[in-house]
């Protein structure tokens, strides 16, 4: 694809019609809870856009985030997103290695100065000058500062890059910090999760290309379209919480009948993510559906918040009373709240447009 060629021209040259972009626009609108009528405008914007240069840096991480992204969706749609970006540097996915790989990063930085998107997974070691994690003779800290300088925007994928994650957990031997602790003068999006939901990563990148701006973010700089609700808000087990029906152990009657896992330590009520709606493995399931409570992996310091199996209310002075009150309140307001939430969501998602 020529550098001057638009995504629409490139698809046309390959014999792929505008319908593919309309379909992708509809998918993206659905994914990001945008008004459904925006699908057409998004298709037009994508058709006119040029491929986005992306440099992906991996620091103190486990490669789970990359594993997640490369399984974002079915092959044909995946092919579309990878036609929208030019992945100019990614240590795990690129064919070249060694000096040639570093030259590719420097060349992409030079040719797309001020225009490339920098994606980072993994936290940044800062103790002792950041010597605990280095590539090609440079510390992660040096490479981050060097590469971020010419970036249009940064996307921190995974809880390690967004909040420090597991490397940052006590006692944090490497002095790990999130990207936002180092880079403070660039637009930055956090897509947390261990790993993040693949559609959240691909959708956010596609949004940037389509609209040329950041999506609406929450106070932790996460896209509201994926992190606007708690797991608990959208959990299919929520009706059991509302009725005060809780599993008390992983093999009791309540667990077998799919009751709420709140008392088994589920962190769903304080965890913002889209697992309950987008789910995992192509929409197959998510942890709660598999019978285990949410670990809260998309929240800061999730590893240091005590046992994954301690109920949230157990941190208060009167756990039994708190659970009882939560259940009773749930019974009273749950049904009405759910109905109102459905109605509000429905209104937000429908609208009129002159044809």
């Amino acid at each position: 694809m020529a550098a001057s060629e638009t995504i629409g021209e490139e698809l046309l040259r390959r014999g792929i019609s505008r319908r593919a972009l309309l379909k992708y626009g509809a998918y993206l609108a659905s994914l990001m809870a945008l008004p459904p009528l925006q699908a057409r405008a998004m298709a037009d914007a994508l058709a006119a856009a040029r491929r986005q240069s992306v440099i992906w840096l991996s620091f103190q991480e486990c490669t789970g985030c990359t594993e997640s992204l490369t399984r974002s969706f079915g092959p044909t749609l995946e092919d579309l997103i990878f036609n929208m970006i030019s992945l100019d540097y990614h240590e795990t996915l690129q064919a070249v290695s060694g000096e040639a790989a570093e030259q590719a990063r420097l060349a992409a930085m030079r040719e797309n100065a001020g225009k490339y998107v920098l994606v980072v997974d993994g936290s940044v070691s800062t103790r002792d000058g950041g010597v605990y994690s280095a590539v090609a003779g440079k510390t992660n800290l040096q490479v981050l500062e060097e590469t971020a300088a010419g970036a249009m925007a940064l996307i921190s994928v995974g809880t390690c890059a967004a909040f420090g994650g597991i490397p940052h957990a006590h006692p944090n031997p490497t002095g790990a910090v999130p990207v936002s602790a180092i880079i403070k003068d660039k637009p930055l999006i956090n897509i947390s999760g261990c790993p993040p939901i693949p559609e959240a990563m691909a959708g956010t990148i596609a949004y940037l290309i389509t609209f040329g701006r950041l999506p609406d973010l929450d106070q932790l700089r996460r896209p509201k379209s994926f992190f606007g609700d708690t797991i608990h808000d959208r959990c299919y087990r929520r009706p059991f919480y509302d009725k005060g029906m809780f599993a008390k152990s992983f093999d009791d009657e309540g667990a077998r009948k799919g009751w709420c896992l709140y008392e088994l330590g589920c962190k769903g009520p304080v965890t913002y993510n889209a697992c309950a709606t987008l789910k995992w493995n192509g929409g197959t399931s998510f942890p709660i559906q598999s019978g285990h409570g949410c670990l809260g992996c998309s929240e800061p310091d999730f590893w240091d918040k005590g046992s994954f199996y301690r109920p949230l209310s157990a941190t208060t002075a009167h756990p039994a009373r708190t659970v009882g009150a939560a259940a009773a309140t749930g019974i009273a307001v749950g049904a009405l709240g759910a109905a109102l939430a459905r109605r509000a969501k429905h209104r937000a998602l429908t609208g009129g447009e002159k044809s």
Binding site: I16, S17, Y27, P75, R234, K345, E353, K354
Partner: protein, 142 residues
């Protein structure tokens, strides 16, 4: 976990959506305003979705095509209300929406596609004409 049988709440939700669709249809008929509902963004159970689909039924027109995965589009029993379903390459439903419009945008050929088609056809005809002239020339003319 299997979904329960449809109950009063399911029926109420479906009726609510139908009333919403009736409003959109009126806006289309009277003011030429199109609308759309993204079904996958609503907290609908499979039972509710199946119930809505059955309630709307199928009308005169249906189409299927394969662009970045298979797609199915059909007009419901109510002209102007279209059910649109897109799959990815693994046959997973990635978009399920209702559009309230005379003809869904995705069924129309785009301007760029029309221009490319016209250029392709002209090019193919030019080749045919060139071959014809070459053939006529080799036989010493008509």
């Amino acid at each position: 976990m299997t979904n329960p049988e449809p109950d009063a709440i399911d029926r109420d939700l479906i009726e609510g959506l139908l009333r919403e669709l009736a409003g959109h249809l009126h806006a289309l008929a009277e003011h030429d305003l199109t609308g759309a509902i993204d079904l996958r963004s609503l907290p609908l159970t499979d039972v509710q979705l199946d119930g809505l689909r059955e309630r709307l039924g199928r009308g005169e027109v249906s189409a299927s095509f394969d662009v970045a995965g298979r797609s199915e589009v059909w007009e419901t029993r109510y002209p102007g209300i279209w059910w649109i379903r897109h799959y990815d390459g693994l046959e997973t439903v990635v978009v399920e929406r209702i559009e309230i419009t005379a003809v869904p945008e995705i069924l129309r050929a785009g301007h760029a596609d029309l221009a490319a088609a016209a250029a392709n056809l002209r090019r193919e005809l030019a080749v045919v004409e060139q071959d014809y002239r070459a053939e006529v020339g080799s036989h010493g003319g008509i």
